[in-house]
Every structure is written in structure tokens, then in C-alpha cells.
């Protein structure tokens, strides 16, 4: 009985292969986008974990300096006071055209679990710690280090973009002999307080040390939100396909039950069928997702490196957990999409007309219920916007907004159609509007999907464009110096300064140290008292005479990120490392930087950090002279060309990082839109097969198939147009939430929203094109339907 039942059920798919393709494709697409995003996230997280693992940040408390580094005498002092610490020097080295994170450890005091496995197995301690030494590097990174004159051993256990060597060797490579950047506390601290031995050092608990994971959380949440959106859009397709397949099989269900198949068994068989389909589609989706992830990962890796300094492997690895999660999400998605259909099957009366009803006129009550739900969700969104806080609340707000908009769409479309029908004169227009309205329930899921995709597109597009506009203007302000020069060591800096004397209008030292400000990692910059800053620095708010105060060392400037995070405003006191406090003189915008930043007067900076090397300089000179000076610096002063950057290149570089940051978002955006387009196509195609009973009479009453087909296309275009117009306010609302809530929470800056109607035209045209393409096929099919086919509708034997 079960076999017979199953074969009766499955035969449906053989007779309607297109429905099967729709279902499988929809589920595969949904799974693909979701799991693709998840694969990217998993890869990135694995890289962060590996990086954190490298220094045991997740497991051991760290001892960090207020500034960038500290003398190793502090380390010896702590050891001799009984502190179980192991030294670390960490820095970046440009090698082989790549910036490599170099980590130096002391194999004698380092706990066994902070160094990668390969390092431990190596017994050539002498080769490791005595010059020239050797480096263990991630296999992707190792080739870049080949020119350093020491052995480089590729080791898969080393994090991407990273190389590990002996502390002394790495000090030498980084040009920081005798300096350390942090200590790892490997045991219980003794009674002697840290401050008594090394006053410039502070202890940090292990949890808060994984800065990279924390910083990039928002980025990954962003990706996840997009994955979820795509998944939801994909589910619309699945829902449509399953619903249709169930509706069309109602007579079969009824017959099977009439023939004695228990309801339970029927539902069991249907579930089994769907599980099989879900697993197959899920598998295809996972394969697709892998491809998507592999294609996007290099961009993501570049973004993460550019924006957060996080090294992520560009190579995708397959993780069993990811596969399992993908299959679960495919099954779950199918379950969600099929729930309604199952419910209807369970309540299917044994005797009822076998007329398909799913696509018939939507009831007013159903529309009202949807409208009420939309209104309720709108209220929830409003509440969230008013009282919610945090990134998660922001994304929930986004989600609720989108669902509310999607639910309201059929109502809006219905209203528009009622108005249009009311205004229509002539039998054909009237029929056209009435018929469109009747089709609405069948198309509304696809149209909702389109609305979501379009709104997301408009929202994200507006955000990105606003960001780009603001960012470009900001770069123009911020990068005011004509040339930027970096000396490789203090001696070279001295030579450089001597050479520049009299050749430029001003030399502006760019000095900074890494520090902990208000409990979080931050950069402290020294800023020269110069018109360059007074005229150009992008201050958002400031006290009067702020630059004089900063120059005198009384006031400091903080970036928007820090100000927002700690709710600081000009006039507030800011505690600085070392225990003293300065007034905040102003807040400036600092896009693209995940860290808190504090600007203090150059003199105050030098007094505070006498050891901080002054190696970077901005040069002011008449812009036309810059290329000549750049050449002269290389030819006459012996500065390597890669140590000099002109303003334009730096801007290009910064914009490049920015573009890459949103490349992934853009790609996902397009994919989501494509899925929505596919949803429309499948809906129209499935509808078209059921449209004959509605179209045949009209045809019989004197319309050509061609004109009917034209009307079908017109209908699709019209619906897409209305949906697009409806998507604009939703998209703008979305952009507002992204700019005013999500960005502020995720990055710590708020951008003015700018509107780009030109982009909408494009998007509108694109969605019309999608609808046109989607409608073209069924319309062509209709135009070519042989009359005999349509006549079957009238045939007596029907």
C-alpha cells in the first residue's frame, strides 16, 4: 500500500517535471545563498580563531602596554618577580608585496598550546632561536617571505597571513630589538602587583582580547542578514511550488484516501517525499553555495584585511558542521514552506469538488488578516526603533520592517487594481483589471519576494552611495598633505628631515601608539599645530578655539566611534592611559576605522611617548611640485619608492578598500534580485498552465492568442512596476535604518543619508526587465498554444 501510494504521489513529478525543477531550484538557490554566506563566515571565524590561537588570546590573559610596545627589561623584571609570563612581539612586515603579521615567541616560556603544532615537533631549537633563525608561515604566506634570508617552513597550522619565529629573530626582522608588544600570562599571578614592576603595562582578561572577532562581528552579522534574506526569498519559490504540487494532487489524495490509505500514512508519505526532495535540493544548494562562497571569499578576505586588519584565508575549506547545518536549513526551509500545504491536506474533506481553489480569488477576509498583521508588525518596528538598542535589535527591526512591507503588498496591489478597474472603460480593460486582481493571490508570493529584493537593493544601494559620497568628501578633507613619506628607521627619518628642510612648506609628523582607552583598544595620534589640520580636519562638533587648546595640550580630539560608544561630547573629560584626564575638544569623523582614536597635540604626545618613533610624515608643498619632489626623494635622498605615497594614490587606495568592502554586499544584492526574478518566472509559468480555463472563453469570444499574450506581459510589467514603486519607500526606510541604526552600532559612525533617484530608475528598469523576461516565456507559450489545446477547455469530456 505504501509503495503503491508513494508511486501514485511521485508520478505527479514525472508528469510535471517543470514543477519539480522549480521546487528543486528554489530550494537549492535558497540553500546556496544561505550556506554560501555561512561558509564565508565559517572560514573567516576559523581564521580568527586560528589567529587568536596563535597567541593563546582566547585562553590566557594578556599583559599589554599603554603604548605600542615596551622594553623587554619589563619582561625580565616580571619573570624575576615570579610572574609566569611569556613574551610576544607582533608586527607587520611588508614582504613579497604582502603585509605579513609576524609573531615572535619564546619557545622556552611559551605554553605548548600557543605555538602551532609544527613548531613544537621541530627539535632544532638552535636553528629556531639563533640567527639567522627560521619562520613557520602559513603555506599561502610562506612564498612572500622567501627573500628575508632565513628558512621559511610552510605550516598549515599557522594562521593565514601570519608567520611565527623566535622572539629575537622577529625583533630583528621588525627592527625593534629589545622591544616587546605584549606578554601572555600563563599561570597565576604572584603577590607582587604588576604596576610595581612595570608601570606601563596593564592586564587584560582573555575574553576581551579577541579584538578581531569582536570587530568583525558586525560585518558577519551583515552577511548573515543578507544570507537570511536570500533564503527567505528562495523559500517563497519553494512555498509556491509545494503549494501548487499539493493543490494539483488533491484529487489523487482524495482518491488514495477513498481507497483506504489512512491520513497519517498519506502525510507520512508526503513528508517522506519532501524530505527526499529537500535532501537532493539541499545537496545541490550546498554545492552551489560552495561555489558562491569560493567566488566571494577573496573579496571578503580583502575587505576584512583592509577594514579590520584581519587575515582570512582566501582558500575555502569544507567543514562537516557547515554541511550538516546546510542540510538542516534545507529541511527546515522545506518544512516552513510546506507547513500550510500539509495543514490543508490534513483538513482535506473526503468528498469535495476537485476544483483547484488555491489560485482563485483571494478572500477579503484573508487580505484583511494580512493587513492587520502588517500593521501589527509595523507597530513592533516602530517600538523597536524607539526603545531597541544594539546591533541585533537593529537587524530585528530590519527584518520586521521587511516582513510588514511584504505582508502589506497584496493589500496595496489590490487597492491599486480596484482603483484601476473603477477607472477602466471598455470590456477588455475591465476584464484585464478584474483578471489581474484574480491572479494576485497566485502571484503575490513572488511579488513579495520581488519587493523584498528590490527594497533591500534600494536600501543597501542608498547606504552604499551615501557612504561613498560622504567618504569621498571626507577623504578629500582628511588627506590634505600632498605627499606621505615613511622612513624605515630613525636614522633614515633624520636624513629625510634634513633633506626636506627648505624644500617643502611644512613637514607634518604622523605619530601614533596603540593604547587602551576606556577599556578598549585605541590609537593615540600626535597632531602638529598646522593650518592643514585647522582648515581641513573633518570635525563633527568642537569647542571654540579647539585647535589652540589641542596645540597647548589641554584638549584632545576623539573620533566619532569613540564618542558614540562612550557617549562623549566636546567638553567631557577623557581618561588617558597613564591615569591623567584631558578635556575632549572635538569629535571628528573617521570612516573605515574600526578602532577608537584619540588625537593629542604633538608636543604633548612627544612628552608622553618619548620612545615612539617618528617615521611617518605628511609633506605640504604646492601640488604641482609634488611629482618632482617625489622623484627627488627617491633619486637624491635615497628613499625607496614604496615608502612615498602621493595624495591621489592614497585616496585611490582608500576608495579601493571601500569598494571592496561593499563588493560582497553588491554581489549578494544581485543574487537576491536574481532569485526574486526566478520566483516571478516560476510563478508566472505555473500560473500560465492553470490560466487556460480563464483565457479560453475570452479567446473564444473574439480575442487573438497574440493579444492575450500581450496582455499577459502587460500585466506582469504592471505588477512589477507597482511592486517597484512600493519598494521605494520601503527601501528608503531600510536605508535609514541601515545608516542611523545598523552602521552606528556596527561601525560607530553615522552618515548623512543621500538619495539617488537615478539609481532607482536603473533598478526600476531592471525589475521591469526581469518581469518582462519572466512573462515572455509563458506569453510566447500562450501565443503558440494550438487552438485545439484551448478547445479542450470546452470539450464535453472534460
Amino acid at each position: 500500500m505504501i509503495r503503491a501510494g508513494l508511486s501514485a504521489l511521485l508520478s505527479h513529478w514525472l508528469r510535471r517535471p517543470f514543477q519539480l525543477v522549480t521546487l528543486v531550484t528554489g530550494l537549492a538557490l535558497a540553500t546556496a545563498l544561505w550556506s554560501g554566506v555561512q561558509a564565508i563566515n565559517a572560514e573567516a571565524r576559523a581564521s580568527y580563531d586560528q589567529a587568536a590561537e596563535t597567541l593563546g588570546e582566547a585562553r590566557y590573559p594578556q599583559i599589554v602596554p599603554d603604548g605600542a610596545d615596551f622594553p623587554q627589561a619589563d619582561y625580565v623584571g616580571l619573570r624575576r618577580a615570579g610572574w609566569p609570563v611569556t613574551p610576544v612581539i607582533e608586527g607587520r612586515l611588508r614582504a613579497g608585496g604582502q603585509s605579513v603579521r609576524l609573531i615572535g615567541i619564546d619557545p622556552l616560556t611559551a605554553p605548548a598550546d600557543i605555538a602551532p603544532d609544527t613548531v613544537e615537533v621541530e627539535t632544532d631549537l638552535a636553528g629556531f632561536i639563533t640567527p639567522p633563525g627560521l619562520l613557520y608561515a602559513n603555506p599561502e604566506t610562506a612564498p612572500a617571505l622567501s627573500g628575508l634570508g632565513l628558512r621559511v617552513v610552510p605550516a598549515a597550522s599557522v594562521a593565514p597571513g601570519t608567520a611565527i619565529g623566535d622572539i629575537g629573530i622577529v625583533q630583528g626582522l621588525l627592527g625593534q630589538p629589545g622591544r616587546l608588544t605584549r606578554l601572555i600570562l600563563t599561570g597565576d599571578a604572584p603577590g607582587t602587583p604588576l604596576q610595581d614592576i612595570a608601570s606601563g603595562l596593564t592586564r587584560r582578561a582573555q575574553a576581551e582580547s579577541n579584538d578581531i572577532a569582536r570587530l568583525t562581528d558586525s560585518f558577519h552579522l551583515n552577511l548573515t542578514a543578507f544570507g537570511l534574506l536570500s533564503f527567505a526569498v528562495g523559500l517563497f519559490i519553494v512555498h509556491g511550488a509545494i503549494g501548487l504540487a499539493f493543490e494539483q494532487r488533491r484529487p489523487v489524495f482524495r482518491t488514495l484516501r477513498a481507497l483506504g490509505l489512512p491520513l497519517r500514512t498519506l502525510i507520512g508519505l508526503l513528508s517522506l517525499e519532501l524530505v527526499i526532495l529537500a535532501l537532493v535540493s539541499g545537496g545541490i544548494g550546498m554545492a552551489l553555495g560552495y561555489l558562491i562562497a569560493a567566488a566571494l571569499l577573496p573579496d571578503v578576505a580583502a575587505t576584512l584585511r583592509g577594514l579590520y586588519g584581519a587575515d582570512v584565508s582566501g582558500q575555502l575549506s569544507l567543514r562537516p558542521a557547515w554541511w550538516a547545518a546546510g542540510m538542516v536549513i534545507a529541511l527546515l526551509g522545506t518544512a516552513i514552506a510546506a507547513a500550510g500545504a500539509f495543514w490543508r491536506v490534513a483538513r482535506l474533506p473526503l468528498l469535495a469538488s476537485a476544483q483547484p481553489r488555491a489560485w482563485s480569488r483571494g478572500s477579503a477576509a484573508g487580505r484583511l488578516a494580512q493587513g492587520a498583521a502588517a500593521a501589527a508588525l509595523g507597530l513592533v518596528a516602530l517600538g523597536l526603533a524607539l526603545v531597541g538598542s544594539g546591533l541585533v535589535a537593529g537587524f530585528v527591526l530590519l527584518g520586521v520592517l521587511l516582513i510588514a512591507a511584504a505582508l502589506a503588498l497584496p493589500l496595496v496591489l489590490h487597492g491599486v487594481l480596484v482603483l484601476a478597474a473603477g477607472a477602466a472603460r471598455g470590456a477588455l480593460p475591465q476584464w484585464f483589471w478584474a483578471d489581474t486582481r484574480q491572479q494576485l493571490p497566485g502571484l503575490s508570493l513572488a511579488l513579495m519576494a520581488l519587493l523584498l529584493a528590490l527594497a533591500a537593493n534600494i536600501g543597501v544601494g542608498t547606504m552604499v552611495q551615501s557612504f561613498r559620497a560622504t567618504f569621498t568628501g571626507w577623504l578629500d578633507q582628511r588627506l590634505a598633505a600632498e605627499l606621505y613619506v615613511r622612513a624605515s628607521d630613525p636614522a633614515e627619518a633624520e636624513r629625510l628631515l634634513a633633506y626636506l628642510d627648505g624644500r617643502v612648506d611644512a613637514v607634518l609628523p604622523i605619530v601614533s601608539v596603540d593604547a587602551v582607552v576606556m577599556g578598549a583598544p585605541a590609537e593615540i595620534f600626535g597632531v602638529a599645530d598646522h593650518a592643514t589640520y585647522r582648515d581641513n580636519w573633518p570635525l563633527l562638533s568642537a569647542l571654540p578655539d579647539v585647535w589652540d587648546r589641542v596645540a597647548r595640550g589641554e584638549a584632545v580630539l576623539v573620533n566619532e566611534q569613540l564618542a558614540r560608544r562612550e557617549a562623549l561630547a566636546p567638553g567631557d573629560p577623557l581618561p588617558l592611559p597613564g591615569g591623567d584626564t584631558r578635556t575632549i575638544g572635538g569629535v571628528y569623523s573617521d570612516y573605515g576605522n574600526p578602532l577608537a582614536q584619540v588625537l593629542i597635540g604633538l608636543d604633548a604626545f612627544r612628552a608622553r611617548y618619548p620612545d615612539a618613533p617618528e617615521l611617518n610624515f605628511g609633506l605640504r608643498l604646492p601640488a604641482p611640485d609634488a611629482p618632482a619632489l617625489q622623484r627627488a626623494l627617491t633619486d637624491e635622498a635615497g628613499i625607496a619608492p614604496d615608502q612615498i605615497t602621493d595624495q591621489q594614490s592614497l585616496k585611490r587606495f582608500s576608495l579601493g578598500i571601500f569598494e571592496r568592502t561593499f563588493a560582497v554586499t553588491g554581489a549578494l544584492n544581485v543574487l537576491t534580485l536574481a532569485v526574486a526574478g526566478f520566483a516571478i518566472l516560476t510563478s508566472l509559468l505555473t500560473l500560465s498552465t492553470m490560466r487556460q480555463p480563464q483565457l479560453a472563453p475570452v479567446w473564444a469570444l473574439g480575442l487573438t492568442r497574440a493579444s492575450l499574450a500581450r496582455l499577459e506581459i502587460l500585466r506582469a510589467l504592471f505588477l512589477a512596476l507597482v511592486t517597484f514603486i512600493a519598494a521605494i519607500p520601503v527601501g528608503l526606510l531600510l536605508a535609514y535604518v541601515l545608516l542611523a541604526v545598523i552602521n552606528v552600532e556596527a561601525f560607530g559612525w553615522r552618515l548623512p543619508m543621500q538619495v539617488f533617484p537615478g539609481d532607482w530608475l536603473w533598478l526600476g528598469a531592471l525589475s521591469m526587465l526581469a518581469a518582462l523576461l519572466a512573462a515572455l516565456w509563458p506569453a510566447r507559450r500562450l501565443a503558440r498554444t494550438p487552438p485545439a489545446e484551448l478547445l479542450k477547455v470546452f470539450a464535453n469530456e472534460r
Binding site: 482563485s360 480569488r361 471598455g426 470590456a427 477588455l428 475591465q430 476584464w431 478584474a434 483578471d435 486582481r437 484574480q438 480555463p693 480563464q694 479560453a696 472563453p697 475570452v698 479567446w699 473564444a700 469570444l701 473574439g702 480575442l703 487573438t704 492568442r705 497574440a706 493579444s707 487552438p787 485545439a788 484551448l790 478547445l791 477547455v793 470546452f794 470539450a795 464535453n796 472534460r798
Partner: protein
């Protein structure tokens, strides 16, 4: 001569060749006359009706309606014929589900540009549909739907009415009532009527009868 059919042949593709459904049918019908088409099931009655109505094209032979050869018309021409000259009443009613009763009744007349609200109102009254005008087809009974279908055809005042078992879906009493009405209104409009029927009683009420058997006139 409003309608003349000459050696009309229609075949359908079938397993192992083609199935000849109509095999050299010839017949004619004058304006204002009525003709019953009978024959066993599968003899080709509906097929003939569809060919005359410009819904399908013959393989050979001619169908002349009001002096035009339908076979020579293109898709557009046939659509115009269906719109303007011919009216079909189907056994399955085939109302337009998205339009209400009054819109359904008026639909073809409006397409044909012959809409006359007063005539519509008369028809609705005569057909007993005054109270149903705002309803949608799915809310009507079979008899009511058939009356709407008849109303729709009559409202357009076609010169030739083709009816394919117009009462086949109704019980006998209802069928008789609807038919009486139908014939009365056809007479009023002066249209010619070709109706397919299994009912001898109905056939007897026509001016003439034509019997089909295996695609030929018996």
C-alpha cells in the same frame, strides 16, 4: 445563405497516423433558421461546431459564414469573426471567472462594439438574472451559469449562434425551461441557430436536423 459548409475535413494526430474526425461534411443554414446537430458521442459534432465558430481550422474544405471563407482568415480575422458574427454557447458555460454576471453578459457585446444596456437589462430580466447581476460565476448554480452564458451570447446579437449541448449540464426540467427561453430569444433576435444536442425532444423543435455518424452526414 448565412452558413455553408463544403466537404469539410478535420483530422487529429493519433497513435500511428491521423484520426479523421470530420470526413467531407457539407451542409448549410439560412439566416433566421434553426438546425439541430445530432449523432453518437465522438461522431464529431463539437469539432464541426468549433470549425464553424472559427475556433479551429479545418484540414480541407470550406466554411463560409456570411460570405467569408473562415479557412482563409488569419488569427485576427477569425477573432473578429468570433467577436462580431458568431456567438457560442458552451456546454461547460465557460464564463469569465473574474467578471461578475452583468460584466459577463455585456462582455462580448462590448468587445463587438454593440453594447446596448437596455437590451442587456431585458435579457437579464427575461433570463431571470436580475438579482444575480453583481455575483461572480462561482457563486451561481449550473442553471444560472448557463443562463448567463446564453445571455452573453444573445447580448452581442450575433447573426449565427452556435450552441454545444447548451442544456447538457442541467437537469431535464431546468434544461427545458432554459431552452424555451433560449429559443424564444433567438427568434426575437432573428439569428440563425445551430445547436448540438442528444435530446430528441430538443431536436424536434428545430427547423431541421442533421445527423452525424463517424464524421459523415448520415
Amino acid at each position: 445563405m448565412l452558413l455553408s459548409v463544403e466537404t469539410l475535413t478535420k483530422t487529429y494526430p493519433a497513435e500511428g497516423g491521423r484520426l479523421t474526425v470530420l470526413d467531407g461534411i457539407s451542409m448549410s443554414l439560412d439566416a433566421g433558421r434553426t438546425l439541430a446537430l445530432t449523432g453518437e458521442s465522438g461522431s464529431g459534432k463539437s469539432t464541426l461546431l468549433h470549425l464553424i465558430g472559427g475556433l479551429d481550422v479545418p484540414d480541407a474544405g470550406r466554411v463560409m459564414v456570411d460570405g467569408t471563407d473562415i479557412a482563409a482568415l488569419d488569427d485576427k480575422g477569425r477573432a473578429a469573426l468570433r467577436r462580431g458574427t458568431v456567438g457560442v454557447v458552451f456546454q461547460q458555460f465557460n464564463l469569465i471567472p473574474s467578471l461578475d454576471v452583468s460584466a459577463n453578459i455585456a462582455f462580448q457585446a462590448r468587445l463587438a462594439g454593440r453594447h446596448d444596456p437596455a437590451w442587456d437589462a431585458r435579457l437579464a430580466r427575461a433570463l431571470g438574472l436580475e438579482d444575480q447581476l453583481g455575483k461572480y460565476p462561482e457563486e451561481l448554480s449550473g442553471g444560472q451559469q448557463q443562463r448567463v452564458a446564453i445571455g452573453r451570447t444573445l447580448a452581442a446579437r450575433p447573426r449565427l449562434i452556435l450552441a454545444d449541448e447548451p442544456t447538457g449540464n442541467l437537469d431535464e426540467a431546468t434544461g427545458d425551461r432554459v431552452l424555451d427561453l433560449f429559443l424564444q430569444l433567438v427568434a426575437e433576435t432573428g439569428a440563425a441557430l445551430l445547436t448540438v444536442t442528444h435530446s430528441g425532444r430538443l431536436a424536434a423543435r428545430m427547423d431541421a436536423q442533421l445527423v452525424l455518424s463517424q464524421g459523415r452526414v448520415a
